[in-house]
Subunit: 340 residues, 2 copies
């Protein structure tokens, strides 16, 4: 590869740090030119010190977004600061104004048009005005329960219903995810926390909307359900122990209806000790498609991959606020053989 | 849908006729404005008479390509005349010059750049000059063994090897396909016919090249192997009987190497009586992906679907000769719910 993409990492939480490691590892395809975070513990330090790398990068973490973007003029920003669009869309506008394409892990950005029509228009206008592409992506939302489901329909003449079942063994994932799904809580505490809106997967409704939009379906309504999965046995993970009768995790589902007919059914089971983890997509149609990813897509690694693989998607994308359905299909980028 | 895509069907063999039926069935999304074929038995007849439909369409089959295209100015041409690009690429140029986007079933068009660099440049130039998109697609090549394999890598940070196994029970397919794979021949006759180059799947090497190109891999060489599958039992299909010891069909494989390492392995088994039909994609990488379509993708129906679903892909595509990897991911189009 003769021209490397010049990349700024914006947001240095766990996912952002993984992105940084991957960007630095893919140094034949990517050049890290800046790193942004507001955490006072990170600002001013070499990126290497944050991600636990011995060799210094020579790049200092900065909280001054505008200066970093204006001085480095990156091809793309990898943006990992928040799950929620309304809290941070000014960050995307700032990137657009600097002329940088953006690939973002913001779950609500995967299909923002219904939840935030005004904000979506504003982002889209800023992107078009500056000739750049802004894309929200990830494994879920962004791939497993939406883009891959749409891809599965690509060989269908007719589709009447799609059912997606993602089963994740949270015991194999990071501690924050185990905590996020409520592992080892009592059922009572789970219900209390659920009432605060702090549980559940972010972006399930976005996946429903993305699939419906991709098929040109106008949904009558979307029903969302979140329930605790109670463990039927004692499960020990490297981080915590779930006793029998305690919460193992969540079963989160969202259904899309046309009239009274449930045409989309997305089910996410994410709990400690889940057996037969998988991503299963069943398209009822002509022909029917019964797609299965055995073992499931391992989210921690794969989320980073979707962001890094999104870099060429946004660099070559049509200007505007895009969804994963508007850009060419995602594929691995900067692999070891690519560098030969 | 307020604006229907205006479509000309170019080529009225079995696949073209299926396309016509589908275009006419999706009349809320598509309007058939012309039909082209050179067969004297078809020219001058109403399209309905060719496809066995009672209700006349009012459209007469014509062999005069230029007049049809110039008088109808379609948004897209569905092109199904040949598997081989060098025999008919002037047809694509003609479409381009008339300003019509093209989605074609031509297997060699799925990735034509290596086999026909000059022709590819000429088609690309004509497409760009006239602001239209030309796309070769299908189930295989175009989806099962290439686009879907690339899509599977979209969640991978690293990919070192991809193995694809497509197993098709030819006994469930049309007679021409059973004949194409040599069902009910003796092993000797199969070998004689194989020597003439008349057997085997067209486009397997194109799939290898498309996947390699999509990943930015430069292959050292591609090995292709075609073998007869000998039936171990008597199999009766609606069309023919394969005796034990006769040819049941083909096992066609193509491998891509980087140095001495086999990095791509595409295996197509297509024979009468094949058990456990499936499309299986195994991505060796980080994370690994083990994707399976149980029962496989039913080719006859699905091929038509990829072409019809390709219409919005080419209409909204960037001008030029595109591959399925350059356009937004394929998805079902004009389904019954889309029309609500």
């Amino acid at each position: 590869m003769t021209n490397k993409y010049r990349v700024v990492q914006y947001g240095m939480g766990p996912i952002g740090q993984s992105c940084l490691r991957t960007i630095l590892a893919k140094d034949s395809a990517l050049e890290l030119v800046g790193a942004i975070d507001i955490d006072p513990d990170k600002v001013g330090k070499d990126v290497a010190d944050i991600i636990g790398r011995d060799e210094k990068t020579g790049l200092t973490v900065s909280a001054d977004v505008q200066t970093v973007l204006e001085s480095t003029k990156p091809d793309a920003v990898v943006h990992t600061t928040s799950s929620f669009l309304d809290r941070m869309y000014d960050q995307l506008i700032l990137c657009a104004k600097s002329g940088a394409n953006v690939v973002s892990s913001t779950e609500e950005l995967v299909f923002p048009f219904d939840r935030y029509p005004e904000i979506s228009r504003e982002i889209d206008a800023a992107a078009k005005e500056n000739g750049i592409t802004i894309l929200g992506t990830g494994v879920n939302p962004g791939y497993a329960m939406d883009a891959l489901a749409l891809m599965a329909t690509g060989v269908c003449n007719e589709v009447t219903r799609i059912e997606v079942n993602r089963v994740v063994d949270a015991g194999l994932r990071r501690l924050p995810l185990q905590i996020k799904v409520g592992a080892a809580l009592t059922a009572e505490v789970f219900e209390e926390r659920k009432a605060t809106g702090k549980f559940g997967h972010i972006g399930l409704v976005e996946s429903v909307r993305l699939v419906a939009s991709g098929l040109g379906w106008t949904l009558s309504r979307i029903d969302e359900q979140l329930n605790a999965v109670i463990s039927e046995r004692k499960v020990v993970t490297p981080y915590l122990t779930v006793e029998e009768g305690q919460v193992a995790g969540i079963h989160h589902s969202a259904s899309g209806y046309i009239g009274d007919e449930e045409v989309l059914s997305l089910n996410l089971q994410m709990f400690v000790g889940a057996e037969d983890p998988r991503d299963a997509i069943s398209v009822h149609g002509d022909p029917p498609i019964d797609l299965l990813i055995r073992g499931g897509i391992f989210g921690d690694t794969a989320t980073v991959a979707t962001l890094i693989n999104g870099i060429p998607q946004v660099v070559s994308g049509v200007p505007g606020l895009a969804t994963v359905v508007d850009v060419p299909l995602p594929k691995a980028f900067g692999t070891k053989w690519s560098l030969q």
